[in-house]
Symmetry: C2
Subunit: 229 residues, 2 copies
Protein backbone atom coordinates (compact mmCIF):
# COMPACT_ATOMS: atom_id res chain seq x y z
CA UNK A 1 0.00 0.00 0.00
CA UNK A 2 1.34 3.44 -0.94
CA UNK A 3 1.97 6.13 1.70
CA UNK A 4 -0.50 8.36 -0.15
CA UNK A 5 -3.20 5.70 0.28
CA UNK A 6 -2.38 5.32 4.00
CA UNK A 7 -2.56 9.09 4.51
CA UNK A 8 -5.93 9.14 2.71
CA UNK A 9 -7.24 6.37 5.01
CA UNK A 10 -6.04 8.28 8.09
CA UNK A 11 -7.83 11.40 6.80
CA UNK A 12 -11.03 9.40 6.30
CA UNK A 13 -10.86 7.98 9.84
CA UNK A 14 -10.20 11.41 11.39
CA UNK A 15 -12.91 13.05 9.25
CA UNK A 16 -15.49 10.50 10.38
CA UNK A 17 -14.40 10.94 13.99
CA UNK A 18 -14.69 14.74 13.73
CA UNK A 19 -18.29 14.46 12.50
CA UNK A 20 -19.24 12.18 15.40
CA UNK A 21 -17.39 14.47 17.85
CA UNK A 22 -19.48 17.39 16.59
CA UNK A 23 -22.62 15.31 17.29
CA UNK A 24 -21.38 14.58 20.82
CA UNK A 25 -20.59 18.26 21.39
CA UNK A 26 -24.12 19.26 20.33
CA UNK A 27 -25.61 16.71 22.76
CA UNK A 28 -23.38 17.88 25.61
CA UNK A 29 -24.43 21.47 24.93
CA UNK A 30 -28.12 20.54 24.83
CA UNK A 31 -27.72 18.72 28.16
CA UNK A 32 -25.65 21.61 29.59
CA UNK A 33 -22.85 19.19 30.50
CA UNK A 34 -19.25 20.36 30.83
CA UNK A 35 -16.94 17.67 29.46
CA UNK A 36 -13.22 17.14 30.10
CA UNK A 37 -11.01 14.66 28.22
CA UNK A 38 -8.16 13.55 30.52
CA UNK A 39 -5.04 12.34 28.70
CA UNK A 40 -1.63 11.18 29.98
CA UNK A 41 1.02 8.47 29.93
CA UNK A 42 0.04 5.19 31.58
CA UNK A 43 0.44 5.54 35.33
CA UNK A 44 0.42 9.35 35.59
CA UNK A 45 -2.42 9.00 38.08
CA UNK A 46 -5.56 9.99 36.13
CA UNK A 47 -7.80 7.52 37.95
CA UNK A 48 -6.55 8.40 41.45
CA UNK A 49 -7.01 12.06 40.59
CA UNK A 50 -10.57 11.42 39.36
CA UNK A 51 -11.48 9.30 42.39
CA UNK A 52 -10.56 12.24 44.63
CA UNK A 53 -12.17 14.89 42.40
CA UNK A 54 -15.52 13.14 41.89
CA UNK A 55 -15.75 12.29 45.61
CA UNK A 56 -15.25 15.93 46.51
CA UNK A 57 -17.44 17.42 43.73
CA UNK A 58 -20.34 14.98 43.65
CA UNK A 59 -22.42 16.95 46.15
CA UNK A 60 -22.12 20.09 43.97
CA UNK A 61 -22.75 18.64 40.49
CA UNK A 62 -24.32 15.65 38.74
CA UNK A 63 -21.19 13.75 37.62
CA UNK A 64 -20.47 10.91 35.23
CA UNK A 65 -17.22 9.24 34.15
CA UNK A 66 -16.26 7.34 30.99
CA UNK A 67 -13.17 5.15 31.48
CA UNK A 68 -11.01 4.02 28.54
CA UNK A 69 -8.51 1.15 28.78
CA UNK A 70 -7.31 -1.59 26.45
CA UNK A 71 -8.49 -4.19 28.98
CA UNK A 72 -10.02 -4.53 32.49
CA UNK A 73 -12.83 -2.62 34.19
CA UNK A 74 -10.69 -1.79 37.23
CA UNK A 75 -10.93 1.96 36.73
CA UNK A 76 -14.72 2.12 36.37
CA UNK A 77 -15.01 0.01 39.52
CA UNK A 78 -12.77 2.43 41.42
CA UNK A 79 -14.99 5.34 40.32
CA UNK A 80 -18.24 3.50 41.15
CA UNK A 81 -16.95 2.84 44.67
CA UNK A 82 -17.30 6.60 45.24
CA UNK A 83 -21.01 6.42 44.31
CA UNK A 84 -20.51 8.16 40.95
CA UNK A 85 -21.75 6.53 37.71
CA UNK A 86 -18.99 5.21 35.45
CA UNK A 87 -18.94 3.36 32.12
CA UNK A 88 -15.88 1.32 31.13
CA UNK A 89 -14.89 1.21 27.46
CA UNK A 90 -12.32 -1.45 26.48
CA UNK A 91 -10.49 -0.55 23.29
CA UNK A 92 -8.90 -4.00 22.81
CA UNK A 93 -6.04 -3.46 20.33
CA UNK A 94 -6.98 0.23 20.11
CA UNK A 95 -4.72 2.96 21.45
CA UNK A 96 -7.26 5.76 22.08
CA UNK A 97 -10.94 6.47 22.61
CA UNK A 98 -12.89 7.78 19.62
CA UNK A 99 -16.05 9.88 19.38
CA UNK A 100 -18.25 6.86 18.53
CA UNK A 101 -17.19 5.03 21.71
CA UNK A 102 -17.89 8.13 23.80
CA UNK A 103 -21.31 8.69 22.22
CA UNK A 104 -22.33 5.09 23.00
CA UNK A 105 -21.00 5.25 26.56
CA UNK A 106 -22.80 8.58 27.14
CA UNK A 107 -26.11 6.88 26.23
CA UNK A 108 -25.56 4.46 29.12
CA UNK A 109 -24.93 7.15 31.77
CA UNK A 110 -27.72 8.78 33.80
CA UNK A 111 -28.79 12.24 32.57
CA UNK A 112 -26.11 14.69 33.77
CA UNK A 113 -28.05 17.90 33.09
CA UNK A 114 -26.08 20.89 34.38
CA UNK A 115 -23.24 18.65 35.49
CA UNK A 116 -19.78 17.35 34.66
CA UNK A 117 -18.54 14.47 32.51
CA UNK A 118 -14.96 13.31 32.89
CA UNK A 119 -13.57 11.11 30.12
CA UNK A 120 -10.41 9.22 31.08
CA UNK A 121 -8.64 8.32 27.85
CA UNK A 122 -6.31 5.36 27.29
CA UNK A 123 -2.89 6.07 28.82
CA UNK A 124 -0.98 7.19 25.72
CA UNK A 125 0.81 10.51 25.09
CA UNK A 126 0.58 10.19 21.29
CA UNK A 127 -2.59 8.90 19.62
CA UNK A 128 -5.39 10.47 21.75
CA UNK A 129 -4.10 13.94 20.77
CA UNK A 130 -5.58 13.57 17.27
CA UNK A 131 -9.07 12.40 18.29
CA UNK A 132 -11.68 14.97 19.29
CA UNK A 133 -14.33 13.35 21.51
CA UNK A 134 -16.61 16.41 21.69
CA UNK A 135 -15.06 17.61 24.96
CA UNK A 136 -14.88 21.24 26.12
CA UNK A 137 -11.12 20.76 26.46
CA UNK A 138 -8.33 18.25 27.01
CA UNK A 139 -6.52 18.15 30.35
CA UNK A 140 -3.07 16.55 30.22
CA UNK A 141 -2.05 14.90 33.48
CA UNK A 142 1.72 14.81 33.82
CA UNK A 143 3.57 13.08 36.63
CA UNK A 144 6.72 14.45 38.26
CA UNK A 145 8.23 10.97 37.79
CA UNK A 146 8.17 11.23 33.98
CA UNK A 147 10.98 13.73 33.41
CA UNK A 148 10.86 17.37 32.40
CA UNK A 149 11.47 16.85 28.67
CA UNK A 150 8.18 15.10 27.82
CA UNK A 151 6.35 18.22 26.49
CA UNK A 152 9.12 18.62 23.89
CA UNK A 153 9.21 14.93 22.99
CA UNK A 154 5.40 14.52 22.73
CA UNK A 155 4.44 18.04 21.64
CA UNK A 156 1.07 17.27 20.01
CA UNK A 157 -0.56 16.28 23.29
CA UNK A 158 0.64 19.36 25.17
CA UNK A 159 -0.33 21.60 22.24
CA UNK A 160 -3.84 20.06 22.25
CA UNK A 161 -4.48 20.57 25.99
CA UNK A 162 -5.90 23.63 27.77
CA UNK A 163 -4.59 22.62 31.20
CA UNK A 164 -1.56 20.66 32.43
CA UNK A 165 -2.11 19.10 35.84
CA UNK A 166 1.31 18.19 37.26
CA UNK A 167 0.50 15.26 39.54
CA UNK A 168 2.54 13.47 42.24
CA UNK A 169 3.96 16.84 43.31
CA UNK A 170 4.49 15.27 46.77
CA UNK A 171 7.27 13.14 45.17
CA UNK A 172 9.10 16.14 43.67
CA UNK A 173 11.55 16.47 46.59
CA UNK A 174 12.77 12.84 46.32
CA UNK A 175 13.13 13.10 42.55
CA UNK A 176 15.30 15.74 40.91
CA UNK A 177 12.16 17.29 39.43
CA UNK A 178 12.53 20.77 37.93
CA UNK A 179 9.06 22.37 37.88
CA UNK A 180 10.11 25.62 36.19
CA UNK A 181 11.80 23.76 33.34
CA UNK A 182 8.74 21.54 32.78
CA UNK A 183 6.45 24.57 32.58
CA UNK A 184 8.88 26.34 30.24
CA UNK A 185 8.94 23.31 27.89
CA UNK A 186 5.13 22.97 27.95
CA UNK A 187 4.70 26.68 27.10
CA UNK A 188 7.26 26.37 24.30
CA UNK A 189 4.82 24.02 22.49
CA UNK A 190 1.65 25.72 23.83
CA UNK A 191 2.12 29.31 25.09
CA UNK A 192 -1.48 29.44 26.38
CA UNK A 193 -1.49 26.25 28.45
CA UNK A 194 -2.58 26.68 32.07
CA UNK A 195 -0.59 24.81 34.72
CA UNK A 196 -1.45 23.53 38.19
CA UNK A 197 0.41 21.22 40.56
CA UNK A 198 -1.51 18.59 42.48
CA UNK A 199 -1.07 15.41 44.47
CA UNK A 200 -3.87 12.89 44.13
CA UNK A 201 -2.40 11.14 47.17
CA UNK A 202 -2.31 14.09 49.59
CA UNK A 203 -4.98 16.33 48.04
CA UNK A 204 -2.56 19.24 47.62
CA UNK A 205 -3.64 21.67 44.88
CA UNK A 206 -7.15 20.28 44.37
CA UNK A 207 -9.01 23.35 45.60
CA UNK A 208 -7.38 25.40 42.83
CA UNK A 209 -8.36 22.71 40.32
CA UNK A 210 -11.97 22.84 41.54
CA UNK A 211 -11.98 26.63 41.27
CA UNK A 212 -10.78 26.26 37.67
CA UNK A 213 -13.63 23.82 36.92
CA UNK A 214 -16.24 26.09 38.56
CA UNK A 215 -15.00 29.04 36.51
CA UNK A 216 -15.37 27.10 33.27
CA UNK A 217 -18.78 25.85 34.38
CA UNK A 218 -19.94 29.43 35.11
CA UNK A 219 -18.71 30.52 31.66
CA UNK A 220 -20.66 27.71 30.03
CA UNK A 221 -23.83 28.75 31.87
CA UNK A 222 -23.32 32.36 30.88
CA UNK A 223 -22.79 31.42 27.22
CA UNK A 224 -26.03 29.42 27.30
CA UNK A 225 -27.96 32.25 28.87
CA UNK A 226 -26.60 34.62 26.21
CA UNK A 227 -27.51 32.14 23.45
CA UNK A 228 -31.05 31.85 24.79
CA UNK A 229 -31.27 35.68 24.74
Amino acid sequence: MSSERIIQVERDILGKNDRLAADNRARFRADEVLVFNLVSSPGAGKTSLLVRAVSELKDSFPIGVIEGDQQTSNDAERIRATGVAAIQVNTGKGCHLDAAMVGEAYDRLPWLNGGLLFIENVGNLVCPAAFDLGEACKIVVFSTTEGEDKPLKYPDMFAASALMLINKIDLAPVLDFDLARTVEYARRVNPGIEVMTVSARTGEGFSAFYAWIRKRWAKLKQAERTAQG
Copy 2:
Protein backbone atom coordinates in the same frame (compact mmCIF):
# COMPACT_ATOMS: atom_id res chain seq x y z
CA MET B 1 -15.16 4.07 5.36
CA SER B 2 -16.35 0.66 6.62
CA SER B 3 -14.71 -1.11 9.58
CA GLU B 4 -13.88 -4.02 7.25
CA ARG B 5 -11.94 -1.65 4.98
CA ILE B 6 -10.07 -0.17 7.97
CA ILE B 7 -9.15 -3.65 9.22
CA GLN B 8 -7.89 -4.56 5.73
CA VAL B 9 -5.72 -1.42 5.66
CA GLU B 10 -4.29 -2.27 9.09
CA ARG B 11 -3.49 -5.80 7.86
CA ASP B 12 -1.74 -4.39 4.79
CA ILE B 13 0.37 -2.03 6.93
CA LEU B 14 1.33 -4.79 9.37
CA GLY B 15 2.03 -7.25 6.53
CA LYS B 16 4.39 -4.80 4.83
CA ASN B 17 6.09 -4.11 8.17
CA ASP B 18 6.56 -7.83 8.84
CA ARG B 19 8.29 -8.30 5.49
CA LEU B 20 10.70 -5.43 6.19
CA ALA B 21 11.27 -6.74 9.75
CA ALA B 22 12.26 -10.13 8.27
CA ASP B 23 14.79 -8.30 6.04
CA ASN B 24 16.20 -6.49 9.09
CA ARG B 25 16.41 -9.77 11.02
CA ALA B 26 18.37 -11.40 8.19
CA ARG B 27 20.81 -8.47 8.13
CA PHE B 28 21.26 -8.56 11.91
CA ARG B 29 21.95 -12.30 11.72
CA ALA B 30 24.46 -11.85 8.89
CA ASP B 31 26.24 -9.16 10.93
CA GLU B 32 25.99 -11.29 14.12
CA VAL B 33 24.33 -8.42 15.96
CA LEU B 34 22.07 -9.05 18.95
CA VAL B 35 19.14 -6.59 18.85
CA PHE B 36 16.83 -5.49 21.66
CA ASN B 37 13.69 -3.38 21.20
CA LEU B 38 13.05 -1.38 24.39
CA VAL B 39 9.44 -0.39 24.94
CA SER B 40 7.69 1.45 27.80
CA SER B 41 5.44 4.32 28.83
CA PRO B 42 6.91 7.79 28.40
CA GLY B 43 9.21 8.53 31.32
CA ALA B 44 9.83 4.96 32.51
CA GLY B 45 13.55 5.65 32.20
CA LYS B 46 14.60 3.83 29.02
CA THR B 47 17.19 6.43 28.06
CA SER B 48 18.75 6.70 31.54
CA LEU B 49 18.90 2.91 31.64
CA LEU B 50 20.58 2.80 28.21
CA VAL B 51 23.08 5.54 29.08
CA ARG B 52 24.25 3.45 32.03
CA ALA B 53 24.18 0.12 30.14
CA VAL B 54 26.08 1.28 27.05
CA SER B 55 28.67 3.09 29.20
CA GLU B 56 29.33 -0.10 31.15
CA LEU B 57 29.19 -2.53 28.16
CA LYS B 58 30.98 -0.53 25.47
CA ASP B 59 34.40 -1.98 26.28
CA SER B 60 33.03 -5.53 25.86
CA PHE B 61 30.96 -5.16 22.68
CA PRO B 62 30.59 -2.95 19.63
CA ILE B 63 27.35 -1.08 20.45
CA GLY B 64 24.89 1.06 18.54
CA VAL B 65 21.64 2.72 19.55
CA ILE B 66 18.59 3.78 17.53
CA GLU B 67 16.44 6.34 19.35
CA GLY B 68 12.76 6.87 18.51
CA ASP B 69 10.79 9.95 19.56
CA GLN B 70 8.05 12.07 18.06
CA GLN B 71 10.33 15.10 18.27
CA THR B 72 13.79 16.22 19.52
CA SER B 73 17.19 14.55 19.29
CA ASN B 74 17.79 14.82 23.06
CA ASP B 75 18.03 11.07 23.58
CA ALA B 76 20.55 10.39 20.81
CA GLU B 77 22.67 13.24 22.19
CA ARG B 78 22.61 11.69 25.67
CA ILE B 79 23.79 8.36 24.21
CA ARG B 80 26.50 9.99 22.05
CA ALA B 81 27.88 11.73 25.15
CA THR B 82 28.96 8.25 26.33
CA GLY B 83 30.99 7.75 23.13
CA VAL B 84 28.52 5.25 21.66
CA ALA B 85 27.04 5.76 18.16
CA ALA B 86 23.35 6.73 18.13
CA ILE B 87 20.86 7.58 15.38
CA GLN B 88 17.75 9.61 16.23
CA VAL B 89 14.53 8.82 14.37
CA ASN B 90 11.73 11.38 14.71
CA THR B 91 8.32 9.86 14.02
CA GLY B 92 6.45 13.21 13.82
CA LYS B 93 2.76 12.31 14.22
CA GLY B 94 3.69 8.62 14.45
CA CYS B 95 3.25 6.62 17.64
CA HIS B 96 5.84 3.86 17.11
CA LEU B 97 8.96 2.91 15.18
CA ASP B 98 8.48 0.63 12.18
CA ALA B 99 10.84 -1.79 10.44
CA ALA B 100 11.52 0.60 7.54
CA MET B 101 12.72 3.34 9.92
CA VAL B 102 14.99 0.89 11.73
CA GLY B 103 16.45 -0.47 8.48
CA GLU B 104 17.32 3.07 7.34
CA ALA B 105 18.80 4.03 10.72
CA TYR B 106 20.86 0.82 10.80
CA ASP B 107 22.47 1.83 7.48
CA ARG B 108 23.75 4.98 9.15
CA LEU B 109 25.39 3.21 12.12
CA PRO B 110 28.96 1.89 12.04
CA TRP B 111 29.30 -1.88 11.44
CA LEU B 112 28.42 -3.59 14.74
CA ASN B 113 29.74 -7.05 13.84
CA GLY B 114 29.50 -9.35 16.88
CA GLY B 115 27.93 -6.60 18.96
CA LEU B 116 24.72 -5.19 20.38
CA LEU B 117 22.05 -2.88 18.97
CA PHE B 118 19.57 -1.26 21.34
CA ILE B 119 16.45 0.24 19.78
CA GLU B 120 14.60 2.66 22.06
CA ASN B 121 11.03 2.83 20.82
CA VAL B 122 8.63 5.77 21.20
CA GLY B 123 7.27 5.86 24.77
CA ASN B 124 3.90 4.16 24.27
CA LEU B 125 2.53 1.02 25.93
CA VAL B 126 0.10 0.25 23.09
CA CYS B 127 1.11 0.67 19.45
CA PRO B 128 4.77 -0.53 19.43
CA ALA B 129 3.55 -3.98 20.58
CA ALA B 130 2.19 -4.75 17.10
CA PHE B 131 5.29 -3.71 15.12
CA ASP B 132 8.15 -6.19 14.72
CA LEU B 133 11.40 -4.34 14.00
CA GLY B 134 13.51 -7.47 13.41
CA GLU B 135 14.75 -7.56 17.03
CA ALA B 136 15.79 -10.68 18.94
CA CYS B 137 13.22 -9.71 21.58
CA LYS B 138 11.32 -6.85 23.16
CA ILE B 139 12.26 -5.64 26.64
CA VAL B 140 9.48 -3.78 28.45
CA VAL B 141 10.77 -1.19 30.92
CA PHE B 142 8.27 -0.61 33.68
CA SER B 143 8.64 2.02 36.39
CA THR B 144 7.60 1.50 40.02
CA THR B 145 5.82 4.87 39.76
CA GLU B 146 3.30 3.58 37.18
CA GLY B 147 1.15 1.35 39.40
CA GLU B 148 0.94 -2.44 39.60
CA ASP B 149 -2.08 -2.88 37.33
CA LYS B 150 -0.47 -1.81 34.04
CA PRO B 151 0.29 -5.36 32.75
CA LEU B 152 -3.45 -6.15 32.95
CA LYS B 153 -4.51 -2.85 31.40
CA TYR B 154 -1.97 -2.94 28.53
CA PRO B 155 -1.63 -6.73 28.09
CA ASP B 156 -0.37 -6.81 24.49
CA MET B 157 2.93 -5.15 25.36
CA PHE B 158 3.66 -7.43 28.29
CA ALA B 159 2.63 -10.49 26.23
CA ALA B 160 5.02 -9.40 23.45
CA SER B 161 8.08 -8.92 25.71
CA ALA B 162 10.66 -11.53 26.80
CA LEU B 163 11.91 -9.47 29.76
CA MET B 164 10.34 -6.94 32.11
CA LEU B 165 12.88 -4.57 33.66
CA ILE B 166 11.25 -2.94 36.68
CA ASN B 167 13.08 0.38 36.89
CA LYS B 168 13.23 3.06 39.64
CA ILE B 169 13.28 0.28 42.23
CA ASP B 170 15.06 2.77 44.53
CA LEU B 171 11.75 4.69 44.73
CA ALA B 172 9.72 1.61 45.77
CA PRO B 173 9.96 2.37 49.52
CA VAL B 174 8.50 5.91 49.15
CA LEU B 175 5.71 4.66 46.90
CA ASP B 176 3.29 1.96 47.97
CA PHE B 177 4.75 -0.29 45.27
CA ASP B 178 3.84 -3.98 45.45
CA LEU B 179 6.50 -5.90 43.49
CA ALA B 180 4.95 -9.36 43.94
CA ARG B 181 1.58 -8.18 42.64
CA THR B 182 3.18 -6.53 39.58
CA VAL B 183 5.03 -9.74 38.72
CA GLU B 184 1.88 -11.82 39.23
CA TYR B 185 -0.08 -9.55 36.85
CA ALA B 186 2.69 -9.64 34.22
CA ARG B 187 2.82 -13.46 34.36
CA ARG B 188 -0.96 -13.64 34.10
CA VAL B 189 -0.67 -12.16 30.57
CA ASN B 190 2.72 -13.77 29.80
CA PRO B 191 3.64 -16.80 31.97
CA GLY B 192 7.14 -16.97 30.44
CA ILE B 193 8.20 -13.36 30.98
CA GLU B 194 11.49 -12.90 32.83
CA VAL B 195 11.62 -10.16 35.47
CA MET B 196 14.47 -8.09 36.90
CA THR B 197 14.47 -5.05 39.16
CA VAL B 198 16.90 -2.22 38.44
CA SER B 199 17.57 1.40 39.23
CA ALA B 200 19.11 3.41 36.41
CA ARG B 201 19.92 6.09 39.00
CA THR B 202 21.81 3.93 41.53
CA GLY B 203 22.95 1.07 39.26
CA GLU B 204 21.21 -1.56 41.42
CA GLY B 205 20.41 -4.74 39.48
CA PHE B 206 22.45 -3.95 36.36
CA SER B 207 24.99 -6.76 36.78
CA ALA B 208 22.13 -9.29 36.56
CA PHE B 209 20.85 -7.51 33.45
CA TYR B 210 24.31 -7.69 31.85
CA ALA B 211 24.55 -11.40 32.71
CA TRP B 212 21.19 -11.89 30.97
CA ILE B 213 22.49 -10.07 27.86
CA ARG B 214 25.75 -12.09 27.81
CA LYS B 215 23.79 -15.34 28.06
CA ARG B 216 21.63 -14.39 25.08
CA TRP B 217 24.72 -13.29 23.19
CA ALA B 218 26.46 -16.64 23.87
CA LYS B 219 23.35 -18.49 22.65
CA LEU B 220 23.34 -16.45 19.45
CA LYS B 221 27.01 -17.29 18.84
CA GLN B 222 26.36 -20.97 19.48
CA ALA B 223 23.40 -21.00 17.10
CA GLU B 224 25.56 -19.42 14.42
CA ARG B 225 28.36 -21.94 14.93
CA THR B 226 25.80 -24.78 14.68
CA ALA B 227 24.31 -23.25 11.54
CA GLN B 228 27.77 -23.02 9.94
CA GLY B 229 28.33 -26.75 10.78
